[in-house]
Symmetry: C2
Subunit: 201 residues, 2 copies
DNA sequence: ATAATATGAAACGACACCGTTGCGTATCGA
DNA sequence: TCGATACGCAACGGTGTCGTTTCATATTAT
């Protein structure tokens, strides 16, 4: 017994996989998806070409395209807006402002599209996306609302899931079907209108 | 001058185009789109095969796929819920119920997906869809709201576009990201919650 | 009957990807 | 140094779709 490092992963000898290549592949995949391709139009060849990588290198790591996409989405930092603090209104406005600003980034838009429109065909991708990008935000949002219910800023009998759907859905509707350009104070507008019904009576 | 039928379209002699084939083509295209294909995955070959038609017949009528898709979407009867009548609340509930029930039809879902996710890549398709499926409904909705503002059921200073975004966006959010199955009275729930903020104070 | 056009079927060459393999080179541990 | 593994690259045969063309047949007006 001359070797091993006692911890689980025994280095398998030989040249280690390039961390750089892996990053480049994922980045390239996100890049292409961000240009509007659906998952099925996303070709391994195109990813390899853009990443400056051999197809071999991709196939060695992922056995199919879905797995790659899942990992790619997983690598998206869910740049959850950092914490906030003061009034419920201000928190909601800040939250929706993040959502709105993200929706103007082409890449974010397209990835939202994928998550939304391909959930039927690629359920694993959609599921993963939901867990990474949607769920943490929903939790953040519900925390704000519940805090408001506790301290009297909001009605005590507010239906939290419904309230979340109203806030998120309204912003999504506006950003998706934007005929015109969005007003800069869209988040304020939405929150102020919606909160009318959420406040204690 | 021995012929013509004085009305604009002079029959061009020879075998006329088959109306039946045209219907079959469009139906086949919608069918495939309804199974979840995006516009770019929709192949002419597949349409021809499903329609029981030669590719020739398709290419003779449409020079490209987008034109075909545009016509296909145009053929969708916008089954605008027939008129309604009584209170604003009941009208809104009825309207949202139609939206909800449509969202459960696979075909409608997929076509919504296309309209939403491919608006960047196929602007003409999205534009046409908007005109056919979205606009008439928006007008119907805004009519209901304005009636309510006029007769005092709603606040006189209600922001109508905002109110429409809240109603439609909330329903869309719920039908899109449905973790659970949708409650049967979802439309009522949404309307009752949202109207709290829309009523005169 | 005849001319004109449409139809479905089949085949064409071209291209883009597929997933795999072989090659020479690079980078690690022993 | 040497064996092992990963790398990028290029090529393989296979498949699916493209848009076009050819063909025999069908349907219409004159």
């Amino acid at each position: 017994m001359t070797m091993q490092q006692t911890d689980g992963a025994v280095r398998p000898a030989g040249r280690p996989r390039s961390e750089k290549a892996e990053k480049a592949i994922i980045e390239a995949a996100l890049d292409i998806l961000g240009e509007g391709s659906g998952v099925s139009e996303l070709s391994i060849e195109a990813i390899a070409a853009r990443a400056g990588v051999g197809k071999t290198t991709i196939y060695r790591r992922w056995s199919n395209k879905e797995d790659l996409v899942v990992d790619a989405l997983a690598s998206l930092k869910p740049p959850i807006a950092p914490l906030k603090g003061e009034s419920v209104r201000d928190d909601l406005v800040a939250y929706l402002q993040v959502v709105q600003s993200e929706s103007s980034h082409v890449r974010t838009r397209c990835i939202m599209n994928i998550a939304m429109s391909q959930s039927d065909r690629h359920p694993r991708v959609a599921e993963r996306f939901h867990e990474i990008a949607i769920k943490p935000r929903q939790e953040m949002l519900s925390a704000v609302l519940e805090r408001g219910m506790a301290n009297g800023e909001l009605r005590a009998d507010l239906d939290v899931p419904m309230a979340m759907a109203i806030l998120s859905g309204t912003m999504m509707w506006r950003t998706k079907w934007a005929d015109d350009t969005l007003p800069a104070d869209l988040a304020e507008q939405i929150v102020d209108e919606v909160l009318r019904g959420f406040r204690p009576r």
